[in-house]
Amino acid sequence: MNTPHSSLMLLGVGGGGAAIARGILRAFGPGIRTLILDSDAQSGGVGDVPFTLLGGNRLAGRGTGGQPASARAAFQDNPAIIDTALEGVRTVVIVTALGGGTGGGASGELLKHLHTLGIVTLIFATLPFAFEGDERRRAAHTAAGPIEQHADVSVFLPLDDLVADAGTDNMREALARGLDTISAGVTLFWRILEKPGYIHFDAERLRGILSANGRGHFATAVAQGPERAQKVLASFAENRLLARKESSPPVRSILVGVLAGDDLRLSEISMIVSGLTAAFGSEADIELGTVNDESTFSGRLAVVAFVFEQGATTVRPAPSAAGQQRKLSEEHAALVGNGRFHRAEKTIWNDEDLDIPTYLRRSLTLDR
């Protein structure tokens, strides 16, 4: 079992998340500190990856039957279940698939718990294909709210956009291709963090970017040949994962990861950075990392584009202990008081005055 010591951890949540995480491990090779968290004991596989069973007492290792509430309750039963595995971890990258039970139900609670531990989080969450039906799509959207609320940066990847040219009617094949695509993308991203390059971008720099919070958009492109940089930019221009809407918040920063062999040219880096800056606004900060890996990328140019929006996700409790939250609550109570309920009997629950707005007692910051 591979358990490297690193401050950066890959965490696969649920069956879909476990599949994505294993795909990343296969592509990357050893060296990624990984944990799989699932309510289905079968996700533990043959012990190839550290595994934590969620809700052992409540669910008996049989999964949630597609019920997100069961996964949420299971995590709430014992949030500290993963704490031992998190020793020394400062940043967690979560991969999961929404629409089912464990990924959708547990991810929000997991992110909330990680935040209380002071761990910075980035989550890649796939959204179901249209053909999977309205119920799964609705479940995914319901799960997306708490995820965005508690993650430092959340990246939602609609499988329809991820596998725009799936070219198959077979549901199993389409799903597998979707999970493979995200595995490949995150693997490239991981190489940026872990492999040496001319311009090194490490986990601590990532942590700094993620700490600013926001929604992220993520895409990768690979090309080869004499005009490979132009091909990469053309690929990004057509990529629906990076498509902007009029209502989209401004972009605050772009992380560009360039992976190539020994033939990487400065003009190519310049062209890619200029192209992305033009596409997403010159006011955005550019963070660049390169990987020089002749054995893997000989003749090829792979680019990871990670676009961070401003303030799309700032609705989170402060990373504080419960006592500190109670103190905040008391301060707010003094400030806001019971408002229009001051003449009625107080409603107290677990020592909290429920007449005080919940968002104040939870110290939620509102994205205005």
Binding site: Q67, P68, A69, S70, R72, A73, G105, L127, R138, H141, T142, A144, G145, P146, E148, Q149, F156, R215, K245, S247, S248, P249, A312, T313, V315, V336, G339, R340, F341, R343, A344, E345, K346, T347, W349, L354, D355, P357, T358, Y359, L360, R362, L364, L366, D367, R368
Partner: protein
């Protein structure tokens, strides 16, 4: 069915004061013949805090009913809600003289249960038998004919603060409306939307009121748990009002027209128009994501507290019939989806039982929002009706002892 006269129900809610009038139909059903309501004033958390305003609200509804529907009523059943309502589990024992359980013994232990010794500041509203016991045996649904020495009855007593109930009676009396009976609003709402089969399957009815939320859990055909939380739609309005520094009226309008109980991924970057508070002031807008975050936090907390109470009572796994939402708060966007995610079971909006007719002609609001007042009419009709009507409600009122 036939009733001696039209029956009426009065609900002095935090948001609205409502009076409904029911008439018996020849086919044995109860028809909601009239329903009048106006926004309440002088009420917080389902309790009167301004007697004059509460009286005025009742008078206004009575006048409206007379002018619009031609009904002049002098008495009504009263729905009681608010955090002052409490429940107590009662254990009653009866020594058997014959060595087996006779009908007389069951009648006697039920009568003794009704003689609950509550302190004077508390008034019993309802008493619901939960189960019988005989010597060492427990959870016996029907002990008749069984051999034993000591018959036991476990029942759930629902009681309210005497002074608060008297406040409501006083306000009604001042408006020249006599209160014939005070009933718990939670069981009224449940009886209006649950079939006997729902109660046997196990169901939780959550009535989302303006000032408080009542909830009743039913298993094996009987009431197993009842509670009231002093949090309702008013709190959602107040939270929005506080978060965005807009008037309560603006907050109420946004809550009913634009708010969602869940935060959707597509909320980001979207704005919600805030109507101008008065002529000459510009309309503004607020972030949809922030709005729904405020609403979600409140509603998720409300459902989580209820879930916790039901779980503590070891009833969560018995709700095979799911959760049913009633009350005006059930109209909030995506509230069913949120409740479903919190409770982990099927959730639906309450549909009025088929024994009730005519509501659609007089209500002007969704049926689930009228559950309490309809249940109150059913209760009033049951008290007034001849046995034929009672037969049609067997299973609904069976076993409920009225004070």
């Amino acid at each position: 069915m036939s009733l001696s006269a039209p029956v009426a129900g009065l609900e002095i809610g935090t948001s609205r004061t409502v009076i409904a009038i029911g008439e018996g139909r020849d086919d044995g059903r109860l028809e909601v013949a009239a329903l009048g309501s106006i926004p309440s004033s002088g009420v917080r958390k389902s309790q009167i805090i301004e007697m004059t305003q509460a009286r005025y609200s009742i008078e206004s509804v009575l006048k409206k009913l007379e002018e619009q529907f031609g009904y002049a009523i002098g008495h009504a059943c009263l729905a009681i809600s608010g955090p002052q309502v409490r429940t107590t589990l009662m254990n009653t024992q009866w020594q058997l003289e014959r060595g087996f359980v006779h009908d007389d013994d069951i009648a006697e232990i039920n009568a003794r249960a009704e003689e609950t010794n509550l302190p004077p500041e508390r008034t019993q509203l309802e008493l619901h038998p939960i189960s019988y016991g005989l010597d060492e045996l427990g959870d016996i649904p029907s002990p008749k004919g069984m051999n034993g020495n000591l018959l036991k009855l476990r029942s759930l007593c629902i009681h309210g603060a005497t002074q608060r109930i008297n406040d409501a009676r006083t306000a009604a009396n001042a408006a020249k409306l006599e209160i014939t009976e005070a009933c718990f609003s939670g069981t009224c709402a449940a009886n209006a939307v649950l079939s006997p089969q729902d109660k046997r399957d196990g169901a939780l009815v959550i009535d989302l009121g303006g000032g408080s939320t009542t909830f009743t859990a039913w298993t094996d055909g009987r009431l197993a748990y009842a509670g009231v939380l002093g949090v309702g739609g008013d709190h959602v309005t107040n939270d929005i009002h506080t978060a965005f520094s807009i008037s309560t009226a603006q907050a109420e309008q946004i809550k009913t027209t634009a708010a969602s109980a869940i935060v959707m991924a597509e909320d980001s970057g979207m704005r919600v128009a805030v109507p101008s508070s008065m002529p000459g002031f510009k309309a503004a807008s607020i972030s949809r994501r922030a709005l729904n975050t405020v609403v979600n936090a409140r509603m998720q907390e409300l459902f989580t507290v209820i879930r916790s109470k039901i779980d503590d009572a070891n009833l969560l796994h018995k709700l095979n019939g799911g959760v049913i939402l009633t009350g005006g708060g059930a109209a909030l966007g995506n509230v069913v989806q949120l409740a479903s995610s919190v409770f982990g079971c099927g959730v639906r909006l309450g549909a009025i039982v088929p024994d009730i007719q005519g509501l659609d002609k007089v209500a002007g609001v969704p049926p689930f929002a009228c559950a309490t007042i309809v249940g109150l009419l059913m209760r009033a009709a049951a008290a007034d009706s001849r046995p034929s009507f009672m037969d049609s409600f067997t299973g609904i009122f069976k076993g409920i002892f009225r004070k």
